[in-house]
Symmetry: C2
Subunit: 199 residues, 2 copies
């Protein structure tokens, strides 16, 4: 072992990042320490600040350090249409691929009773309250067509129907069993435009 | 733009890492903020500590927070044989691939007069002093066979000859124009064992 303790510690700390193995961690460590100390300090500060301050939006559960996220605050978004997604990254994917001007609700997962993920873990009580408030008139389900995603979509669709809210589901082109965030923008745009009513 | 400022800032900060594009930066950000706050805090602390404290070893120029690195301190290493490498990562690659028991000297670059990299930038004054001290009796040049690497090897080889120190160069199997750190361990081990005298 030829590394000093702080170099070794940094190399191991990089392993918490997705897709980073021993070789990448080593390359990142040497790159920052040899050529970019300022980058290392900026990344440290950004990590520290985000880890302390970022929580979830009271209205949509997306990641934000504010009580209400920029998208839920924006008056330029249509509060009558709510798009239901699994992950924060899905919000970004849809924003880039479509001209959707409504708002979002982020489940942060899918129903999976065996893993202890029920309606409460997905914030469906919060969603139910929002539907009861009466502003939302249409739900768009942008949930991945996996087995657990299907069950989640059915559950949310049933909630919408009971609240008298129209509900549709994006379709066409999202591959069965695929994760939404890996679909290319063109396919996703097509699927969004071609959504079919399930209400 | 659907991200809150701190989320956006973290995403941009990840771009200082080699090989990390917008998609990877997004995946890293969501992964840490959704599933691994503790990992984010540990990485922040490791970056901060390393950026502040890690300097270079007074003897070999390798990265270390101590005045003298673990390898130069170790009494189990042979101080008579010095292996010259370009990068800290080359030290680790040779440690893993060979049974070399001497010590190292890290140039942190190659001679490149047009880029302002001369002998002083590579610490060759420090190396010259070490050769004059008399403990070192053999140099092994493990420098990549690129154009600038060749010039660097010739320069260091000449220094060794003037100091009356034997000098050899690793050979066989390191592809011409290739960077040492991307060579597989078997090839590197073979090249190290088959080094040829150039003194
Ligand atoms: Zn929100
Ligand atoms: Zn050293």
């Amino acid at each position: 072992m030829s590394y000093s303790p702080l170099v070794q510690q940094l190399m191991e700390a990089f392993r918490c990042l997705p897709g980073v193995g021993p070789k990448s961690a080593q390359r990142m460590t040497f790159s920052l320490l040899q050529h970019d100390r300022q980058g290392a300090r900026s990344l440290a500060a950004a990590l520290q600040q985000a880890a302390e301050a970022v929580g979830e939006c009271r209205l949509c559960r997306n990641l934000t350090e504010a009580e209400v996220c920029p998208l839920c605050q924006s008056e330029r978004r249509d509060g009558q249409v709510l798009c239901i997604v699994e992950n924060p990254s899905d919000v970004q994917a849809l924003e880039e691929a479509t001209d959707f001007r409504g708002r979002y609700f982020v489940l942060k997962g899918r129903l999976s009773p065996l893993d202890g993920v029920g309606p409460a873990e997905l914030g469906l009580d919060v969603l139910e309250q929002r539907l009861a408030d009466g502003e939302v008139t249409e739900l768009i389900l942008a949930i991945s067509p996996t087995v657990e995603g299907e069950a989640t979509a059915q559950y949310v669709g049933e909630m919408a129907r009971q609240a008298g809210v129209g509900v549709s589901r994006i379709a066409h082109g999202v591959p069965l069993g695929g994760d939404l965030e890996y679909v290319d923008a063109g396919t996703l745009s097509h699927a969004f435009a071609g959504r079919t009513s399930v209400g």
